[in-house]
């Protein structure tokens, strides 16, 4: 790894000051589990790293039954996985958190960082999409809210402007009784990036039964399987033939690549298989 400078601001205000006078080769770091690996592989060469980890305003997870879950930018994947309300109301997020890397890395890696890295296989992306998450951005020009679906604009690309920082991600509480799950397929049972990830949520909301499906590692930007979701809307217990149609619809809305982890064809097939498995599991959990 090449030499670099690091600043550790103690407040957001201080962070903005540093970022406003820093050059173009500046990287913002929370957990650093992606950044340091990219630096070690010489994929990025930041001259300055702004480490956010001392900023109190970015820490913690809060839950409010009327609003939902707010995950601070510094909340680690383990903190989220161990949060009692996450297990109770956001099981797809908890599944995803526990499928992420291993215990040691989850102590460093942050949920918001996973969204900011915007790597298509990021395990936090699909669950945050099915829970209709919203990113809270702060910058010298003020605050703005961007849905996760729009925050990520492509592989390793997001809408953050220079000097802007994600403060938190907010996941509204699903309306009514709900169940969720995240299924991840990798090349082995632990410590792998997803070949395919499927997040599924079922809610009995104020109206009819609603299904939400999102996929990881098979599209350049976050995706919701709208056609598949519409096929299921209002159905209390879908039969196998409906599940097959839903799987077809799910496969139609993804556009994976081939790489050394899996071929495009396998990924498409697995979107179908895992969608069916995820729906069955959610219905079991419901």
């Amino acid at each position: 790894m090449l030499a670099f400078e690091m600043e550790r601001p103690a407040s957001l205000k201080e962070a903005f000051e540093i970022l406003s006078r820093s050059g173009p080769d500046t990287a913002v770091k929370a957990g650093g589990t992606d950044l340091l690996v990219w630096m070690k592989k010489n994929l990025v060469h930041p001259e300055l790293i702004v480490d956010l980890s001392l900023i109190e305003e970015l820490k913690g997870i809060s839950f409010d039954p009327s609003g939902g879950l707010v995950i601070g930018a510094l909340a680690t994947v383990n903190e989220v996985a161990e949060h009692p309300q996450v297990g109770k109301f956001y099981p797809a997020l908890m599944d995803a958190a526990l499928s992420h890397s291993d215990f040691v890395m989850r102590n460093k890696a942050t949920v918001v960082g996973n969204l900011c890295s915007a790597v298509p296989s990021g395990d936090m992306i699909a669950p945050c999409c099915v829970y209709e998450g919203v990113m809270h951005l702060v910058g010298p020009a003020g605050r703005r809210k961007v849905p996760v679906m729009e925050f990520i604009t492509g592989p390793r690309k997001n809408v953050l402007q220079k000097g802007e920082i994600v403060k938190s991600v907010e996941l509204p509480l699903p309306k009514g009784h709900s169940a969720g799950c995240y299924l991840k397929l990798g090349r082995r049972n632990a410590l792998d990036l997803a070949q395919v990830g499927v997040a599924c949520v079922i809610t009995d909301g104020p109206g009819e039964r609603e299904y939400r499906l999102s996929f990881g590692a098979v599209t350049p930007r976050p995706v919701r399987a709208k056609v598949a979701e519409d096929l299921l809307r209002g159905v209390v217990s879908p039969d196998e033939s409906l599940l097959d149609k839903v799987a077809e619809a799910a496969m139609a809305c993804v556009d994976p690549i081939t790489d050394v982890r899996a071929s495009r064809e396998y990924r498409i097939s697995m979107v179908g298989e895992l969608t069916k498995k995820a729906l069955r599991k959610c219905l079991e959990r419901f």
Partner: protein, 805 residues
């Protein structure tokens, strides 16, 4: 009469040496050594293309990086190195031959400056067509990786073919295979292939080299398995006297063959021996990515076996063609080719044999030693094809194996009579423990369950004159130091040696310590490889310990004025019951005994022992025949019970049972550790491991993000390991090699179990989820064979959509 008594001798369950320091984190590895501010750091700039002539290398920008001392290019350090075949230069000279080949070595005051310098070295190439496919390149030879092959030095038992890409061609010619096929009721011909795989040891290579500018003496601290082989290879490559090179190996963090021979030391020496470095120590500590790219890998393998079988199920003839993808260098990899060749009928008796085993150069990282040394490759094919043959002739695969087993007295394919072994008994136990012949319901709803068996065999693959020697010193406090230049890299050899010394000296194991190797203090040993150490070095240790014992007894006999036969050493106490004497070993062992006549006799007790295999003769280069081609074989069997999720192709191993005929378990705790560890490594290789390249020869799996090894969540809950003890004739205690064998056959056993579960034969390793899913889809259409030709991955990759933007 035995004159020693100990509770920790051969065959006892004792705790392992150096485990306390490892657990506490206080054991010092090479990277932990400190050299102060005079230490310089080196980093290689590497080729970005797979094959090309070097037009120019511009180091001017690199030299401008603050802290960079020197950039060394290949034409400034032209030396060819190699264990068996001198085909490797540490830096590319004139040509690059694979992506990742070092083209320049940047030496700098800090690691960061060296890295920045390396990034700023700019090379221009005239690109040549690279070659990747071992079968095509072995037969086509229109593009040569080493046109200079004829000029390379090599040992007489390696047979390169100048003008081709064949770095070695090993042959067996026995009987008349064509006639055997004519007389056969059935002829089965099948092919299997596997990709290169990597060792995945924890500690990346690290070494520090220093030249004394006044005398030219070289000192090398390195993470190496074999200090003496490192020294010899360097001496031969540099044309340097042995006595001017000192190699010190601190404890190493795993090897599995990946730190055998000479690895990165010569590259580091290119820095340390540069005049501008002025005798400062230079450290080269390569990253995981560089380990994957530029140290040994297990060779890729494509094999075809044709088998003729009579109406009773007896194999009459076998014709084997093996292509090992040895990458850019065969300096070490030429020998697994031979090892697979001289074992090319597996555990079976075959009267007529024709084998061609080739090492084929390609523009890829180089093949070398990996646990099993040619035999996981061979048996990965053999045990698959034996299973296919059994099904084709309608015989139970267990029965077919037993019918053709290499019984004691029958000749191996090299003409050597097989020694005694307990393989049939082991097979029976494995079959029983796993219920190989019983169909059981899957444990997971909707999954498919299957069981498979595979046999294992391996001899220590080494030169006929691979010798060992040891020194056993008894210290003034009654403790013992063993100087045996074996590297204990986790396999537990030092514990075994301590148990041998305890057995011979009557001293408890906790008072015995083995010291990590240094060519200046330790006597010679060839290498820590080939599952040879407890056998060959074990003999030297036994002799040295017995020598020390005889010296002690003789001194006490004189001291006490009693017959030597009346003396015993019991738990570290020397006793003569008839004379009523009992004294602990103390400083008199060091300083001498004041004898009854008033004079001092004795002085420090040093026992010595040496060993070279007395009766091995190299197989004939034309026919592969020899009265005794290897020292012995260790045989065994693996039974495995797996389940497949048809929806994803995911394979879970329910249980596995492995048994080996180890002759004698010197250190049962380590034997169990070796069997369990190798079984896990074999399962991992079988299910997920493979190195893949894109169409330009760039490694797609250069790190643990994409080179996957089984985690604890991927291994079976039940790993049953057991052994039989049919004594080996020459060895110190009847023991045979056991370090590598457990790695050999888990993979083919899984393949056979998958066939049992799905009815589809997968001819290509590994059995990744994607590949098994493909097999599941084939099973629905009644297809029976899935074979991904070795480079299909690269071909698919060429056509595939790889990026979104």
């Amino acid at each position: 009469m035995k004159q020693t008594i100990t509770n920790d001798g051969v065959g006892k369950w004792v705790t392992r040496q150096y485990d306390v320091e490892k657990a506490a984190g206080t054991l010092q590895y090479t990277d932990d050594l400190r050299f102060g501010p005079e230490l310089l750091h080196a980093k290689a700039a590497r080729s970005t293309i797979a094959h090309g002539e070097i037009v120019s290398i511009d180091v001017s920008e690199a030299m401008k990086v603050p802290g960079v001392v020197k950039v060394i290019l290949g034409d400034q350090f032209v030396h060819r190195f190699g264990l068996y075949l001198h085909d490797r230069t540490p830096l590319a000279v004139g040509k690059v031959r694979y992506v990742g080949e070092p083209i320049a070595l940047v030496v700098a005051e800090t690691e960061e400056a060296a890295e920045e310098g390396a990034l700023k070295v700019k090379a221009k190439y005239k690109e040549l067509t690279p070659i990747f496919d071992p079968v095509k390149e072995a037969t086509d030879n229109s593009i040569l990786v080493h046109p200079e092959l004829e000029s390379y030095e090599h040992v007489p038992f390696i047979v390169p073919q100048p003008g081709t890409n064949l770095a070695n061609w090993f042959r067996i010619r026995r009987g008349d295979v064509e006639k055997a096929f004519e007389e056969s009721e059935y002829v089965v011909e099948e092919a299997v292939n596997c990709p290169q795989i990597a060792h995945g040891f924890l500690e990346p290579h690290c070494c520090i080299c220093k030249e004394d500018p006044a005398t030219g003496y070289l000192t090398i601290w390195t993470a190496a398995q074999s200090v003496f082989a490192t020294r010899e290879i360097i001496a031969a490559g540099l044309g340097y006297p042995l006595n001017k090179i000192r190699v010190i190996a601190p404890p190493i963090g795993g090897g599995f063959g990946g730190k055998a021979g000479m690895t990165i030391e010569a590259l580091c020496l290119a820095g340390a021996m540069d005049p501008d470095v002025k005798g400062r120590p230079v450290k080269l500590h390569i990253s995981r990515e560089e380990v994957m790219l530029t140290s040994w890998v297990r060779q890729g393998y494509v094999a075809r076996i044709k088998m003729g079988i009579d109406k009773d199920g007896k194999i009459l003839g076998m014709k084997n063609t093996f292509y090992f993808d040895t990458g850019v260098s065969a300096e070490y990899g030429a020998n697994p080719v031979r090892s697979a060749g001289y074992t090319s009928t597996g555990c079976y008796y075959v009267p007529n044999v024709w084998t061609d085993s080739y090492a084929v150069y390609t523009n890829k990282p180089f093949g070398g030693a990996y646990r099993g040394f040619g035999l996981p490759e061979l048996m990965g094919v053999m045990e698959t094809i034996i299973d296919i043959a059994a099904h084709k002739i309608g015989m139970d695969p267990v029965e077919f194996r037993l019918k053709n087993i290499l019984e004691p007295g029958l000749k191996t394919c090299t003409g050597m009579p097989m020694h005694n072994h307990a393989l049939p008994k082991i097979i029976e136990k494995v079959v029983d423990k796993v219920g190989i012949q019983k169909k059981e319901e899957p444990r997971r709803p909707g999954w498919k369950r299957g069981k498979g068996l595979a046999l294992a065999i391996k001899a220590p693959a080494k030169p006929a004159d691979a010798s060992s020697s040891a020194i056993v010193k008894v210290l003034g406090d009654g403790t013992v130091e063993i100087l045996a230049a074996t590297m204990d890299m986790g396999q537990g050899t030092y514990t075994s040696f301590a148990q041998m010394a305890s057995e011979e000296l009557g001293i408890p194991v906790k008072k015995i310590r083995c010291i990590y190797p240094d060519t200046n203090s330790h006597p010679y040993d060839w290498q820590t490889v080939a599952s040879r150490s407890c056998w060959a070095m074990g003999m030297a240790v036994k002799r040295a310990a017995a020598d020390a014992r005889e010296q002690i007894i003789s001194l006490y006999a004189q001291y006490w004025q009693v017959p030597p036969e009346s003396i015993v050493i019991e738990h570290g106490i020397v006793k003569c019951r008839s004379a009523g004497k009992a004294e602990p070993l103390d400083e008199r062992i060091q300083n001498g005994f004041k004898m009854p006549d008033g004079y001092y006799h004795g002085g420090p007790i040093i026992g010595t022992g040496s060993f070279v295999p007395p009766d091995v003769i190299y197989p004939d280069n034309e026919t592969g025949q020899s009265p005794k081609s290897v020292v012995h074989f260790t045989v065994g069997a693996v039974g495995i019970d797996v389940e497949v999720d048809p929806a994803t192709g995911c394979v879970e191993v329910n249980r596995v049972s492995s048994g080996y005929d180890v002759g004698k378990a010197i250190s049962p705790m380590n034997v169990r550790g070796q069997i369990e560890g190798g079984t896990v490594q074999g399962i991992s290789a079988g299910l997920m491991e493979g190195m893949y390249y894109d169409e330009k020869g760039r490694l797609l799996t250069p790190d643990f993000t994409d080179y996957k090894i089984a985690t604890i969540k991927d291994i079976p809950e039940e790993i049953d390991s057991f052994w039989e003890e049919t004594p080996e004739e020459l060895s110190p205690y009847g023991n045979r090699g056991v370090g590598e064998h457990s790695m050999i056959s888990p993979a083919p056993a899984i393949g056979n179990a998958l066939f049992n579960a799905l009815g589809v034969r997968i001819h290509t390793y590994p059995f990744s989820r994607e590949r098994v899913y493909k097999a599941v889809q084939m099973s629905k259409t009644g297809e029976e064979d899935l074979w991904d030709y070795p480079y299909v991955q690269e071909q698919n990759y060429k056509k595939a959509k790889k990026e979104w933007f």
